[in-house]
Structure formats: C-alpha cells, structure tokens
Amino acid sequence: MFDNFPLWPARAAAGAGNVDALYIFLVALSGFMCVAIFTMILVFATQYRRRRGVEAEQIEGSSALEITWSIIPLGIFMVIFLWGAIIYFHERTPPRGASEVYVVAKQWMWKLQHQEGQREINELHVPVGRDVKLIMTSQDVIHSFYVPAFRIKQDVLPGRYTTAWFRATKPGIYHLFCSQYCGTMHSGMIGQVVVMEPSQYQAWLSGGGTTGSLAASGESLFQQLGCTTCHRADTQGRGPNLAGIFGKPVQLEDGRTVVADENYIRESILSPSAKIVSGFKPIMPVFQGLVGEEQLNALVAYVKSLSPAPSGAAGATSTAPAGTKSQNP
C-alpha cells in the first residue's frame, strides 16, 4: 500500500516479531500515559482556569500518592526490563552449529567471506531458515553492522571480534547499513542482504568460483607461515597442540584460565605473549602487522575446525551441527 511511504520496517528474521511485539507494547503504554497525562492537564487547565473571586486551594501533597506513582511505574519498568533482557539475551547467544560468515569492515565497504570460501562485497547471500553467525572485525575505525529487517545491530571494532547472528525467514533483498559513524562516506557504506530459498542458495553457492573453504585456506596459510613447526599434532611441539582447543578452557602460565574463543585465538596470533599457555615459553613471534584481517579470519577458522579426533579432513563442516548436510561442494 505504502510503496513510497512505508511506516514499518520489513520483518524477515526469527526474533524480529518479538522485538516488534515489545515495541508495540511500549508504544501502547506510552500512548496511554500521554493520553492520561495530557487529558488531566487539559481538564485541570479548563476546570481550574483563573476566575475572579475563586482562589486556588492549597494542597500540601500526599506521601501515599507519591509512593503509589513511584512504585507502579517501577513495577512496569521492571517488566519492560525483563522482557527486553530476554530478547537481548537471545540475540546475543548464537545457537550452536550456526554456519559462520566472517565480516571485515573498512572505510567504506563490507567484505564478507562464507565458511565455504565464497567472498562477497557489500552483499550477503543467505538461505532461509539457516542460523548464520557473523564474526566481525574492522580494519580501521568502528563500524556497525545493521540489518533493520532482521532487527539486529552490532558494532564492529578494530582489534577484536564481535559477533551477531540471525535466522532469515523470508526471501527478499534487505538493507545492510553501517550505523556507526565512520567518516566521509558513512552513508555510502551500505549493502544488501539477499535471502534466498535453500535450493536457489545452493545454486548460487556452486556458481561462484572459490578456492575452497575458509578453513582450508587457513590450513595452507598455517603451513606457509611455519606455524606447523611448533604447533604439531602431537605433544612434542614447542607450542601447544591446537587440536580441539576451540571453546575449551585453557590454563595459563600466570594461573588464570581463559576460554579459547575467537578473540583468544586472534590475540594469541597477533601478540602471543599476552596470554602464555601453562607449560610453554613465550617464544612465538608476533604476527601483528604481518597477517591481514582476512588471513587472520582464515587462520581462526582453521584452528576452530581442528577436531581432537583423527583430523584428516580438517574442514569447515566440523563446525556444522550433526545432521546438517555437508555444504562442501
């Protein structure tokens, strides 16, 4: 109806309906409060407008009223808080086995790479119904990955990974905006998310030329950079065996324990001496400035793909959930 004058954003992801429901609740609540307060003011202003010979009646106040109109709003606020917190918690917790897309933001474009290896610029193709986790970083300033139709937004920072996830529900083409001011062409740092039926998506996936999965290119990079010299697949290496470490707690030399997530692996490559694994020496060279963001993503994807079991076929599929069909071509 309102082709040139839409008043509501498209809704194309799981969870977007929950955000809308809460929003409508808040609009209704605010509308009710506005009408209530404005009606009271209007009634008082007409009823008690200044008249000759009629004095104002001095009323000191009422503690009972004050407590009432403090406690009731506070109660309502807590309901809003909880409802919003539940949605946020869901938004911030990517489901296990989501397929991964690495995002590198720079002034003023989005570079994306699927775990299957496909690269895209300012465009992201995804199938309906699949959980997609975005692992994002920036090459320069802070950007923000915003897809209004999915109701998701996450700042993308230099020097670390931030993540977001979604499950698209409706085929279509949707806006991708950078929503954190990032310089001259901030408003030009836009793209689109193309949501496709799974069959079309498979066709798209096999259409583009690719050199193999992200993890596979990470593996060859891992060998090129000589990482294999120390990070061996047994316990004899001068560096820790990386098989199966992802997502597991790691005991550090200084007594702390950290979980080996994407940011930990990233840091261990760029500035290895920041967190030394217990029992090892700080002998690894610093890779800060030697590997670019996209190479780093491949390395991280490779390390994640290493399973502790016989790891002959190190590949992207190892992070896919049991039961999903392999996306390897």
């Binding site: 004058f5 200044r50 104002a56 001095q58 409802w83 109701r151 310089g183």
Partner: protein, 544 residues
Amino acid sequence: MATAAVTAEREHYLNKEYGIRSWLLTTDHKRIALLYLISITFFFFVGGFFALLIRLELLTPAGDLVQADTYNKLFTMHGQVMIFFFLIPSIPAVLGNFLVPLMIGAKDLAFPRINLLSWYLYIIAGAIYVHCILTGGVDTGWTFYTPFSTAFSNTKVIEAGIAIFIAGFSSILTGLNFVVTIHRMRAPGMTWSRLPLFIWAHYATSIIQLLGTPVLAITLLLVVFERAFNLGIFDPTRGGDPLLFQHLFWFYSHPAVYIMILPAMAVESEIVACFTRKRIFGYNFVAMSSIAIAVFGFLVWAHHMFVAGISLYSALIFSILSYLVAVPSAIKVFNWTATMYRGSISFTTPMLYAFGFIGLFTMGGLTGLFLACLGIDVHVHDTYFVIAHFHYIMVGGAVMGYLGGMHFWWPKISGRMYPEGWGRLAALLVFVGFNLTFFPQFILGYMGMPRRYWQYPPEFQVLNVLSTAGSTILAVGYVLPMIYFLWSMRYGKIAEDNPWGAAGLEWKTSSPPPTFNFEEEPEVTWEAYNYEEIAAPAEVPVER
C-alpha cells in the same frame, strides 16, 4: 503612570554604570548573566543555522546540497555548538546566574570574580571553536569516537577538543560557585526546606557539573594527546582500547543530559507554581527527585553502549539502572500535573511553555524507556529514533524550559514587559514546529534510518520532508522572541516589581534589581510558594 517615572530615575544594575568597561569588568552576577545571554544566543543561532542546513540536505535522498564531508562537519558542529556552547550554559549561566543570589536573598554569588572568570573561559573557548569552524571545522560527530577521532579524521579535532576542554572549566566554575553560594549565602530564615525548587534543581545540576566535567576534560585531553603524540591509549594495534573512550566519554556525557534538563525542571516548578497560584504538590519529593537524578545519572552511562561490544551482563546492569533514573523524572511530571488540580490557572506565555515542556518532556522520557530496553535498543540504537528522543529531551525539554524562564523573568531582568500576544504566538509556533520536525523521526528510526547519513534510501523521503518543513516553523518560533525581547527593551511596558504576583524573594526587590539586589537584607519567615498569602494581580498584565 507615576510609578513609571519613579522607576526610570531609580538606580539599578543596568543604569548604575555605562560603558564597555563597566560590563567587561563587572562582577555583578546579573550583568554576567546578561553577558552569558548575549554569548549563548549567538551560539544558539550558529548551531541553529547548521541544523537548518542539515534539514535542507535531507530534503532529498541524494547527497546534493553540500558535500559529504561538509555534511559530516555540519552535524558535528551543530551538536558541539548546541550542547557545549548553548545548552549546558543556557539556564544555569543565564537564569541561574541571575536568580540564584536573588532567590536566596544574597548580594551576589560567593565568588563574583570567579563568576566573571567563568564567562571569560567560555568566551576563550567559544573564540577557539569559532576559529575552528572558520578554518575548516571538525567532522568526528559531537561524540569524538575513537579511533576515528584520534587516527582517521583529517579535520581540526585538536582545536575543537581544546575549545570544549576550556568550556568545561567554565561550567565547573559556575557549578562550584552555585554550590558554595547555596550553602553559605542564604539569607536569615532561608532554610533548606524553604528553598525554591529552582535552587534545589540548580544545586543538583552544580554537583554534576563539579563531579562529571573533569572526566570529560581528562577524556578530551587523552584524545588530543593521542592525536598529537600518538600515545596509543585507544589504538588496538598497540594494546589500546577504543571502547575505553566510550566509557569515559559517556561517564560525563550522560550526566550532562541532566545538566541540561534539571535546570529546565527548575524553571518548570517556578512557572507552574506561579500560574496555578499554588505551592508545588509534593515539594519534598520534587526536591529530592532532583538529587536522585543527579546521583543515579552517574550510574547509567553504558546504556549508550548496548551494541558497542560490552558484555551481556554489564548491559543487563546498565539497563536496570537506567530504569531507576526514570522514576524520579516520572515523579516530577506527576507532581507538576497534580499541582494544577484545584489551582487558579492562567495562560500566560511562560505557562504555555510550561505546558509544552510537560508534553514534550513526557514524550522524551517515555521514549527513553524504549532505549533503556535492551531488546528494543539493539534495533533503534544509532537511528533517527535516538535523534528524536534526545531532541524531545534537550530541545522539547531544556529549550522550552529556557524560553519559558526567559519570558517569566524578563520583567525582572529588563524591567520591561514583552508583548504577550507575540509571546503566545511564538510559544505555539515552537510547539507545533518542534513536533512536526521531530515526531516523524521516531518513525524513521524504527524503520531503520541510521543517524549521520548524508544520503539515504528513497523510501525515507516523505518523513524527512515533513521534518524539514517542521524545522522552518521552529526557526520562525525561535527568531520571534529574539526580535520582540529586543523591541521590548525600548518599547515594552514598564514592568512592576512583581507583575505576576509570584512568590519568591526575587520578586520582592525592584525590577530591575539594584546592584546589590536588596535595599536591606531580607529575612525569610515564610515557606516557599506561599501563594495563599500573596494577592493575585487583578489581571495578569497583557499587552496586545
């Protein structure tokens, strides 16, 4: 009239001395208030001019009126000028400066020379900022986010940072002066529980200025040093953290919202009491809610960072704390509304602004509930929803309060009445123009239009056109008062000492007041807002 002739000859703060020296070297808080009035009005129109250019650019989806870089400078300098050079000093440095000593029965502020110093710091800061504008400007967004501001922007970040750093000290000195004055200079009998609510709110404001502004100063200094000497504090490739900047910046800049809105609440209480002819309903609760806002306001800064990459659990904490700070604001709105019950209400220009304030502040406050809500904020953060929300608070709230206050105390400040009919017309234009400008932006925001966009997808155009149309009405509403205030200084009806029949010590001295405010030190034996003891003027002066 006989009184008029007498008033014309009487010595008061305006005619005691003439000449530029008598103004630039004055230590009279009332004259310094006027110096501030002139300076902030200048910056208000500079910032307003930037705003109009922004709205004109957004009339069409394509970036066509100005270059992208120019647009980025326009919204940056609009924000910085309006916040640091207009809103923060507006009510405190003009009306607060003029009224705090008068309201508590003091001869002047505790430190008159420091008061003058604060104005000079403001002027130095303003001059540096104007130089920055004229020689290229700055494009970081008013928020100076790193690492863009420290390592990527090619504009005059250091100059802008230094200007705002200095302006901050002007604000600190004003706050310091108010705190000491309110503690030490109250007239005999003016106990804490007899203080006008204007004073309570300014006291709360001053505490924020004193405790918050130094953090802004440190933060800006770090940005300046990082840019000048490449320190690496916010640079992740050298172990720095860009998010640290956001924490430091919002630790001041969220409470700064209360520096802007608390004084408007201060004005609101005085106007509502006067034109309902009643003591404010729930005096203690309104007074304490100001203090509560000042305290809680320091604990909510990270609600600006829900999508910035902070931990899930800290986001939960900051969301719940943000709801706590909403309670005292709600208390105030309910109490002003309740004050009108069984009052004797007249619809003068200040009261129209007061009505407008309640309406717009209520909407601004309610939409704040959306933003404090984690599930909603993720979608609307950094969109026009946020723009609309904070303009409802800062323009709908703070500027309405400022204009209402200027009309209410204009007779005291200038000794003249402003033209009431024009005043009401301007108040109406401001209200209508404001809503037309900013209401469509709530819808734009939920639809997903990001802020700081020079060009935008065509489906957002209709709402942007409405917004731009509104801004022109708003502009007329703002220019009108400036014209008739100036006109009234010469042609306005001579004001009586207490034309509104208002309670409050400032109305017990002459209009305009003598240099030392009172002919003899007042002794207070009554409670605040003793409207039952003050005869209402037979008719509120109306000039048509």
